[in-house]
């Protein structure tokens, strides 16, 4: 399986790119007439795969759609897809018939036989929720022209987990909040998000811890509000306030704690340019400091796109893909340090 070095959604050219790395819209859908995946027989799961394959590949959802049968892929390739945010941890590790279809630019992927029959997502750089919303619904309409979805008037789109019923939509925004972390204000953001019924997760979504000061913020409510209402709440009311809060924290750091900030930034760059072994958590933390510095106008010679890409390229499966072979834990650390030195020196 071959993936590009990186997808366009990692670009640093999106709206509010200094704080928002990327955004995503995800729809959960199930095909009428079948039990949900957890109760489906092997035959039914095969049948679901066959239906999905025929429809998804012929719908012309995007350029260069590739079907990846996850049973036939190696664990390393599945990990690579997970690191790319193209499949979930659940789909990567499940032991049932399952697949994913991916557009050539990696901005669209549809998982088949995840918790729901279909989990489709559209990714975009920066804060562009209206774009991903419009695109995911175009995809949904194209698929629905060929498939009857499980739907009820009261509960909307029926999903395996009742917390996803209604619209079945989840908007997620990957926010980089290093200044709020440094000035110890991140817990206030978490509490405020909880009060607003938003989920705050880590770089790799559900179950993952914050890494590299990235926080994935998403709506938890899917019933009782339309897609447009959910979108407007996030894009117009909530997210601009978090972005402004991070900007405020960056100003405080730059004006009142400049020496501390400079110390942290230069230590990060120094370590990244000279280390010979590096763990992933350390790399994410140091890259976060460099990203903050670049966004503040320091190091004009460093391309912000490069930093965004490095957050992906230092992940274990990406390093093994880069090396073209399986690596031991020690080799992964060495390769990571080599990649970072080469990129930043």
């Amino acid at each position: 399986m071959e993936l590009k070095e990186h997808g366009p959604w990692i670009s640093a050219d999106g709206p509010h790119a200094d704080v928002v790395l990327s955004c995503r819209a995800r729809l959960a859908r199930n095909i009428a007439g079948f039990p949900f995946v957890n109760s489906a027989s092997t035959t039914q799961r095969h049948e679901l795969l066959n239906i999905a394959r025929q429809v998804l590949l012929r719908c012309r959802l995007a350029d260069g759609m590739t079907w990846v049968d996850l049973v036939e892929t190696t664990p390393r390739d599945r990990e690579l897809l997970f690191e790319r945010h193209l499949i979930s941890r659940n789909l990567a590790e499940a032991d049932i018939e399952r697949a994913v279809v991916i557009s050539s630019d990696e901005t669209l992927s549809v998982m088949v036989n995840e918790e729901d029959h279909l989990r489709m997502q559209v990714l975009a750089p920066g804060l562009a929720l209206t774009d991903v919303h419009d695109r995911i619904h175009a995809v949904d309409d194209a698929i629905e022209a060929h498939i009857d979805y499980a739907f009820s008037k009261r509960w909307g789109y029926l999903t395996a987990c009742p917390t996803n019923v209604g619209t079945g939509i989840r908007f997620s925004v990957m926010m980089h909040l290093p200044a709020l972390k440094i000035i110890n204000e991140i817990e206030r953001v978490r509490r405020a998000a909880k009060d607003l019924h938003l989920a705050v997760r880590g770089y790799y979504g559900e179950g993952s811890e914050s890494s590299g000061d990235f926080y994935q913020i998403s709506n938890q409510v899917t019933l009782g509000k339309s897609e447009a209402e959910l979108l407007a709440e996030l894009e117009e009311k909530i997210l601009p306030r978090i972005i402004e809060y991070e900007h405020h924290a960056r100003r405080i750091l730059a004006e009142r704690n400049q020496t501390v900030l400079d110390d942290q930034i230069h230590r990060a760059v120094g370590t990244l340019r000279s280390a010979r072994l590096m763990r992933v958590e350390e790399a994410m933390k140091l890259l976060s400091r460099v990203r903050l510095a670049v966004c503040l106008g320091r190091f004009p010679e460093i391309d912000p796109n490069l930093i965004n890409r490095l957050f992906l390229q230092v992940q274990p499966a990406h390093l093994q893909s880069h090396a073209g072979r399986s690596l031991s834990a020690a080799e992964v650390q060495k390769t990571r340090a080599d990649v970072l030195r080469a990129a930043l020196s």
Partner: protein, 180 residues
């Protein structure tokens, strides 16, 4: 040539074979048609066509079996299992567990009680199909009641064909998927 098993009560060939376990002991029963009927056991292949068709009508949803003991009649998922694993087994679980599930969903959805977002664009087509299905089932019930078995068999075939019907596909895009 294989030896024909005889009835436990006479010398006729046995047509009903049952294994019963009682108090840990296994008992095999082999009965001829006559003695099987006397014992109240169903003889295979002998069910009258009206019974077969009536069973078919009952299984088609107009007289859907009710959930018993908090179990979904369609997929067999119990509410206790849902509480354990956090996911329901099929779309019909939402009806089967509505009494308990409704308040849980409303709490999880911050008070949201009903869907007010997008609806499937092909809802019209699906509803049309459902209406056609309901009409056919009603006609089948009437035909069985009037003992018009030939017509009932024809209606049964039409219902099965409608169940297997593949959604229409625009000629310029995908071919229709095969459905079971």
């Amino acid at each position: 040539m294989a030896e024909v098993m005889k009835c436990d009560c006479c010398d006729r060939p046995a047509v009903v074979h049952e294994t019963r376990v009682r108090n840990g002991e296994t008992h095999e029963i082999h009965l001829c048609e006559m003695h099987a009927k006397e014992a109240g056991l169903t003889v295979p292949g002998q069910a009258p066509i009206d019974e077969v068709l009536t069973q078919f009508v009952v299984s088609k949803g107009s007289r859907k079996p009710r959930a018993s003991h908090n179990t979904c009649p369609t997929c067999g998922m119990s509410f206790a299992k849902f509480r354990r694993i956090g996911v329901v087994g099929c779309p019909d679980c939402y009806d089967a567990f509505e009494k308990h599930l409704g308040p849980m969903i409303e709490r999880a959805q911050n008070g949201g009680t009903s869907h007010c977002g997008k609806c499937p664009r092909r809802g019209g087509a699906s509803i049309d199909r459902q209406l056609r299905m309901q009409r056919l089932i009603k006609d089948l019930e009437d035909a069985v009641a009037a003992e018009q078995y030939e017509r009932a068999a024809e209606l049964r075939d039409r219902i099965q064909a409608l169940e297997a019907e593949v959604p229409a596909v625009e000629p310029d895009s995908a071919a229709a998927p095969e459905r079971a």
